[in-house]
């Protein structure tokens, strides 16, 4: 298994993380060739279904990279990305997939080395987990089916309405920390998620 190279799908925002990836290249910082990149203008565009679709389509893990909190080129898109990310983590947990397979992190445009560090560490972590399903002890095709369900849930109107209220409350409270946002999303979506995907594992 030493030759195992995880396949990671990345969604990078144009202004920070994508630029950081470029500047890593300019500085010739080396990192494992595990990442494939989808460029977006802002992580705020991240539909909660995208990462789940990535896993359905063969990614062992998904990475989302944006601007540091408070530095979003579009004011607050990365906070909304955290809302989408929180749903992805909730969904993964409920279908028995390691939350470590989805990472959202930040690198500013100047932080090539930081981007490299993030991707290198993430690749190592995913390599530990092995191909999707291995660490989870779930058969791959079965997992795929569950992921397809999860991706559909992320497109579900009720769940998306829950995310809207989570986002509104986030903006109102002015607390943009990850735990606070994850808490909001969990609270708002719990009922519907439990119905659609089953409860959280204890």
């Amino acid at each position: 298994m030493s030759d195992y190279q995880p396949k990671i799908l990345g969604f990078l925002c144009n202004w920070c993380c994508y630029t950081a990836a470029d500047s890593a290249g300019v500085g010739r910082y080396q990192y494992p060739p595990s990442l494939r990149v989808v460029r977006m203008m802002c992580t705020g565009r991240l539909d909660p279904s995208f990462p789940l679709e990535g896993l359905v389509n063969g990614a062992d893990a998904v990475f989302v990279g944006g601007c540091h909190p408070g530095e979003c080129h579009y004011i607050d898109g990365n906070y909304h990305a955290l809302v989408s990310a929180a749903l992805v983590h909730e969904a993964l947990e409920r279908i028995g997939i390691s939350k470590d397979r989805f990472l959202i992190d930040w690198a500013s445009a100047a932080e090539g080395p930081n981007f490299v560090k993030i991707i290198t560490r993430f690749t190592e972590r995913v390599a530990e987990l092995g191909p999707l399903g291995q660490a989870e002890g779930i058969e791959r095709e079965k997992l795929r089916q569950r992921l397809i369900e999860a991706a559909e849930v992320a497109k579900n109107r009720k769940i998306r309405t829950n995310l809207i209220s989570a986002s509104k409350e986030m903006v109102k409270n002015g607390d943009f920390s990850r735990p606070a946002i994850a808490g909001l999303v969990a609270a708002k979506c719990d009922k519907n998620l439990t119905q659609m995907l089953g409860g959280r594992p204890v």
């Binding site: 396949k7 290249g25 060739p33 494939r36 802002c42 995310l163």
Partner: protein
């Protein structure tokens, strides 16, 4: 007569900008937007200036280069900006409107037009030199580029170091350069250029090493300058972003920041304050804290001068969270002690002496006039002040002594980035006014063939895979990738080429698109961030819409980062191409809307800021409606009776009022108020209600100059004695009751009344200068008068430090007070007594004041009603919040709205005038263009699916989505294309996924995700 008129009125439509730092680049970009050709003259090998070397910028600590680089690229590819590097102005002849500038340009020895920026020359160059960009803390080569994002993206050879040029040996770079760009026979050139105006933005010089030698620089390795510290902090710096001691490469555990090195220092001739060091030290200390949470950090200040917008709050937060020790003292020297460490000794204000050892000492190196300022002044024919900065006047702050020659940035007197950028915008506006008849006379507009309609065609994708010399081809098997591309669905043509970005390749691309009837283009090469506009322009030339383009990044994010894994890199490149092709299938032509602009402006507020803005716009030939709530123009500037040069501002303001009233393009509405506003950039409609009429005004842009008011004090027994006045009331007494001032024996002034943590949380910036000015005026009336100024920090920034020194020389007593021990005032029948703590004596003193002047702050006019109407944000302190603190300091986040004057933040008259001119300049961009073209990556709403929930409207950061009722009375979301910036938050949050984004469509992204997995499937199936 006619003959004279013809020859005399030939006005040039070009402007020369001297200096390619952030101020120069900003003014150049603003000028081309306004319709003028720009010659940007830069002394070094690349534009970017000092800002490019900074790691972070205060007060927000965001990455400096990231916010600067897009501007540099924009300047680099603007067809109306000609960048001349290694060049300087040597002579300027002629008149405003018609100058001839002589430029001396040193050879680069590498052809800018051909150089691809691959860096092979540096790799092969044998001659090592210090890396100036990294403060010589690491090595570079004679053939080099200053920094990786440099513009022009072209290498150059240091003529002094090059072995070939000096010893006719080596020459390896010429062999290594596959593009064949090396020109050892390049020579110095002298160019004569006709321009209508000149803007000087040469930046600043630094306090010399000699001055800093006093503090051990050069003697002790671990005494470093703030500029060196900045590079140590930076990820692209010599230590990869680690703060290490030079002596032992260890992390310092105890850092001291020494302020005012070479500033406020008569011994080195720099009596002025450098204005920026207090804040940059706070920033550096904050970042040093982030680097090492256990490091002990001490800052030595004389006064903490953090007087900019939001600076005090940032400082307070930083000091508290970073647990910095702030000491009011000036250690006179740095000493070495036995056993290592750097010894500082200092005396505090209570007269006690202290000493302590530190691991590292950072010198907050002051700013001087630029090197060779005298030479530049002579070439440009302008006057300098005693400190060799450009001489300017309070009321025309951007004009030099020579008409048609303007000055911006630190050369006017040291300043920070927002002020420099602001002045860049202001000077551009002034040039545009001066050269109004020649607008667009020298600029070019690219003309493209008509777009081919491809909506009915099946996708025929062309894929071009770039070798980029050996940059990609040296790692990735480029021919294999090109062959692979041919097997992908909908790919009609694929090939590999050496340099896709060369001029030559653009021609090949155009021909291939036409020959093979391609309707979408994928280029696998470097990065879309730098090269997408180039290929899009090529696409347009081939008759295709710009949006039919996609790029696969196989260099910056592939070959360069997987140098040792060619097979996997090739696999990754194939994946990237497959994903790009999949997305390209879903690309559609997007209409670039050209929305017409009503060529007029609305300016709200008739004070100095509003009037200046109105005049600056009107001088460019656009109509302005100026709205003033009061009965007359002039605003609060009329309350001042002298400026610091002892001129009467009321006369200057009256002259401005007269110009406004007499200007054919300005309509003044007094006793009028804005009651409603709707529309978007280029197309606003505002209801203005005056005493007896209500009027609808159509305008393209809006400037907010609603001003501020003096803070009304309730503390210090104000109002209970005629002897207690505010500084503004004192100003009036100089006119009305000079006699009463003459007989006063003792005057006490109290600073920060209401400001800085009292009722107002912020620093009002102007009060220290006003107190100094009034103290000097009192001393001039009656030299024997005793004057005591009770202050917290004397914020006499810039040349005001001269006033501070003069006041001390004249015997004015300055005593610092702390928030914990504020002065106390009591009124006993006729006597006003002030009790305060004297730190030197260590006890309370009581003194009777014949006059007590309270230095009260500035309160902004309540912005809430206008803010709500125009949907623009305000700060917690009720100032309007600009779009970007550093780079868009006068733009509001809503396109087409701008802010200046006290509504933005407290500022002095010269600062207000410059800022108002900047706001006017920015506001004229859409007016001069005549149309606005939003990037077509905007949101599109499927009305069928939209349920009118309004989530998109509430989350849109730009108020670019509205909910309104459709014909059937159903609530539907609608994109205001002109305002949308394409972030996509609305799409991600839409409950019914009814919103899609141009170019970054749901289908496109899903296709990329599917394509990502396709290779995997093949392997599994096999």
């Amino acid at each position: 007569m006619t003959v004279i008129a013809k020859t005399a009125t030939k006005i040039s439509g070009a402007v020369m900008v001297i200096g390619g730092g952030v101020a120069g680049v900003q003014t150049a970009l603003d000028l081309t937007e306004l319709g003028y050709k720009v010659y940007l003259i830069e002394k070094s090998g690349a534009i970017g200036g000092v800002m490019a070397r900074l790691d972070k910028t205060f007060p927000t600590n965001d990455c400096s280069l990231c916010i600067l680089a897009p501007k540099l690229v924009e300047a680099g590819r603007d067809p109306n900006i000609e960048i001349l590097t290694l060049a300087e102005l040597v002579d300027l002849q002629g008149e405003p409107g018609n100058f001839t500038a002589t430029i001396k340009k040193q050879p680069r020895y590498i052809d800018e037009e051909i150089c691809t920026g691959c860096g092979q020359c540096t790799l092969f160059c044998l001659k090592q030199i210090g890396n100036d960009f990294n403060e010589n803390m690491e090595i570079n080569h004679a053939a080099h580029i200053d920094y990786s994002q440099a513009v022009p993206t072209s290498y150059y050879i240091d003529a002094k170091a090059c072995l070939k040029l000096n010893h006719d040996s080596c020459g390896l770079c010429a062999v290594a350069c596959q593009a064949g760009a090396i020109r050892f026979d390049d020579t110095e050139k002298e160019l004569e250029i006709s321009v209508g105006a000149v803007i000087l933005a040469p930046g600043f010089g630094r306090v010399s090493d000699e001055v800093m030698a006093k503090y051990g620089l050069g003697k002790f390795q671990d005494v470093i300058t703030a500029f060196e510290h900045e590079r140590l902090m930076c990820a692209s710096g010599p230590t990869g972003g680690e703060i290490l001691r030079i002596s032992d490469r260890k992390h310092p555990k105890k850092i001291a920041f020494l302020q005012c090195i070479g500033s406020r220092d008569e011994t080195c001739g720099n009596n002025y304050c450098s204005s920026v060091c207090c804040m940059y030290a706070i920033k550096q200390a904050t970042l040093a804290r982030e680097h090492d949470p256990d490091c002990e950090i001490t800052l030595f200040y004389m006064d903490v001068r953090t007087h900019g917008k939001g600076f005090d709050a940032a400082r307070k937060r930083a000091v508290e969270e970073g647990k910095f020790r702030v000491i009011y003292a000036r250690p006179p020297r740095v000493e070495d002690v036995f056993g290592g460490g750097l010894l500082l000794t200092w005396a505090t204000e209570d007269g006690k002496h202290h000493y302590e050892k530190f691991d590292m000492v950072v010198l907050s190196q002051g700013l001087e006039a630029p090197d060779e300022a005298d030479k530049l002044a002579q070439a440009a024919g302008i006057d300098l002040n005693e400190y060799l900065f450009a001489e300017t006047d309070t009321y025309t702050p951007l004009a030099t002594s020579r008409p048609g020659v303007y000055v911006i940035g630190p050369f006017r007197g040291r300043k920070d980035i927002p002020d420099s950028v602001t002045q860049g915008g202001g000077a551009a506006a002034l040039c545009a006014g001066q050269l109004a008849p020649a607008r667009s006379s020298e600029t070019v507009k690219a003309v493209f063939p008509e777009e081919r309609d491809i909506s009915q065609e099946e996708p025929r994708i062309g894929v071009f895979v770039c070798h980029c010399g050996i940059n990609i081809g040296g790692v990735v098997n480029v021919p294999e990738v090109a062959e692979y591309a041919k097997t992908l669905p909908n790919v009609a043509y694929a090939s590999a080429n050496m340099y896709s970005c060369s001029q030559d390749a653009q021609r090949v691309l155009t021909e291939t698109i036409q020959e093979h009837k391609l309707n979408r283009l994928v280029v696998a090469a470097c990065t879309p961030r730098t090269h997408e506009p180039l290929f899009q322009a090529t696409l347009r030339e081939a008759g295709l819409n710009r949006s039919l383009f996609e790029m696969a990044n196989i260099r910056d994010q592939c070959s360069w980062v997987h140098i040792h894994e060619p097979e996997r890199a090739t696999q990754k490149a194939k994946d990237a191409v497959r994903m790009a092709v999949a997305k390209a299938c879903h690309l559609t032509a997007l209409e670039e809307m050209q929305l017409p602009v009503t060529p007029s402006a609305l300016v709200i507020g008739g004070g100095l800021a509003g009037m200046t803005a109105a005049l600056t716009i009107a001088d460019q030939g656009f109509d302005v409606a100026l709205i003033e709530r009061g009965t007359q123009l002039g605003g609060k500037a009329l309350l001042l009776t002298a400026d610091r040069r002892d001129n009467d501002p009321r006369q200057a303001v009256q002259a401005v009022i007269d110009r406004v009233n007499g200007h054919p393009h300005i309509t003044v509405h007094t006793e009028a108020q804005v009651t409603a506003c709707s529309g978007y950039v280029g197309n606003f409609t505002t209801t203005v209600e005056s005493k007896d009429a209500s009027e609808l005004i159509h305008h393209g842009v809006t400037i907010l100059a609603t001003g501020g008011n003096p803070y009304q004090p309730t503390q210090y027994s104000y109002g209970s004695s005629p002897k207690i006045v505010t500084q503004l009331e004192l100003e009036q007494r100089f006119i009305d009751h000079q006699g009463s001032l003459k007989i006063a024996k003792r005057t006490v002034m109290i600073q920060c009344v209401g400001s800085r943590d009292e009722d107002l949380t912020y620093c009002s910036r102007v009060c220290c200068g006003q107190a100094l000015k009034n103290a000097l005026r009192l001393k001039a009336l009656q030299q024997e008068m005793q004057i005591i100024v009770l202050y917290r920090d004397m914020r006499a920034y810039g040349f005001m430090e001269d006033d501070y020194r003069k006041a001390r020389q004249l015997g004015v007593i300055f005593t610092r007070y702390s928030l914990e021990r504020k002065p106390e005032v009591s009124v006993d029948s006729d006597a006003v007594k002030v009790r305060y703590f004297d730190p030197l004596l260590g006890e309370d003193l009581e003194t009777e004041a014949d006059l007590l002047a309270l230095s009260t702050g500035i309160v902004p006019e309540d912005p809430s009603v206008l803010a709500k109407m125009l949907k623009v944000p305000v700060t917690a302190e009720k100032f309007f919040l600009e779009a970007h603190v550093k780079l868009q300091p006068v733009d509001l986040p809503v396109d087409g709205t701008y802010v200046c004057g006290l509504a933005h933040s407290p500022r002095s008259m010269d600062e207000t005038v410059a800022q108002a001119q900047a706001a006017a300049g920015r506001a004229c961009h859409p007016l001069a263009k005549g149309s606005v073209t939003p990037a077509p990556i905007v949101s599109q709403i499927d009305a069928e699916q939209c349920i009118g929930c309004g989530a998109c409207e509430s989350f849109c950061p730009y108020k670019a989505i509205n909910i309104s009722k459709d014909d059937n009375g159903k609530r539907k979301a609608r994109t205001i294309t002109a305002s949308c910036k394409g972030c996509g938050v609305c799409a991600a949050r839409c409950p019914t996924m009814a919103i899609d984004m141009g170019r970054f469509t749901l289908n496109g992204i899903m296709a990329q995700i599917h394509a990502f997995g396709e290779e995997e499937k093949e392997v599994v199936e096999a």
